[in-house]
Symmetry: C2
Subunit: 150 residues, 2 copies
């Protein structure tokens, strides 16, 4: 599906910048300014993996919240996105797993809501062409532990 | 290309969470914790659009930095990613435009470096299936102004 800016004109515009590289900072002018660092180093800082996870978790949960509102359901959804980095045939790749919890919602309804959120959330759409991305309904979030260094 | 975790085991793992919805906060446990808000509201806060931009700008510039290093070139690259939000046939969509500046690098070399970065950067790969994403070499960044409210 190609861009049709005439039919769907932008409602909002922002910009996010990195001027110096991985061990520096990335920022939105007059907005979030985050120290960044190489995820394989011990330096504190955010990294592209975390920004991808923040984008998908925030977007999916915003979309679920809208679905809950429309159905007069209480807002209970939570989204945790695990992002892993690995080598690839060229450069690196990320494995992305978004886990959605919908406490108090029966299984069939929850599955329908997850499918709907996936079809509406703009970040899920941007990532939808990648085999490296999974969106799943869970009863409990998977505990996330660092990869052991070899 | 499907995931081959045996051949390419994860080198790094992180998680990013949103537990309360769009007007709350998104966070990495023991890491970045960002207030979030609806981009169409006047509330201060980051949003999914900005997280997508931060991910692509940081990742592309980290990849360009590595290419510069390997070629014994000075690190001059800068990446600004414009993200716009619009309605879609279902829900919303983002238009993503990453602009790359490589000051002091001749045009042919710069174009080759941009193509290489696009093929190696894991965030560019995740977004590569979407027609809504553009990565372009520029002489000057486009000034970014807010969308006028109607």
């Amino acid at each position: 599906m190609s861009i049709d800016r005439e039919k769907f004109p932008p409602l909002y515009r922002t910009v996010a910048n990195n001027d110096e590289g991985l061990n520096s900072h990335s920022y939105v002018p007059n907005g979030l300014d985050a120290t960044t660092s190489d995820p394989l180093s011990d330096r504190p800082g955010a990294n592209p993996e975390q920004f991808v996870g923040l984008a998908l978790s925030t977007c999916l949960n915003a979309t679920l919240e809208a679905i809950e509102q429309r159905r007069d359901m209480p807002h209970t959804s939570q989204v945790h996105t695990i992002v892993e980095m690995a080598r690839d045939r060229r450069g690196f790749q990320f494995y992305v797993t978004a886990q959605i919890k919908l406490p108090g919602v029966d299984q069939a309804t929850a599955e329908a809501m997850v499918a709907l959120a996936e079809s509406r959330c703009p970040v899920a759409k941007l990532l939808g062409g990648s085999d490296n991305v999974r969106i799943e309904l869970v009863d409990e979030f998977t505990p996330v532990t660092p990869v052991e260094k070899r």
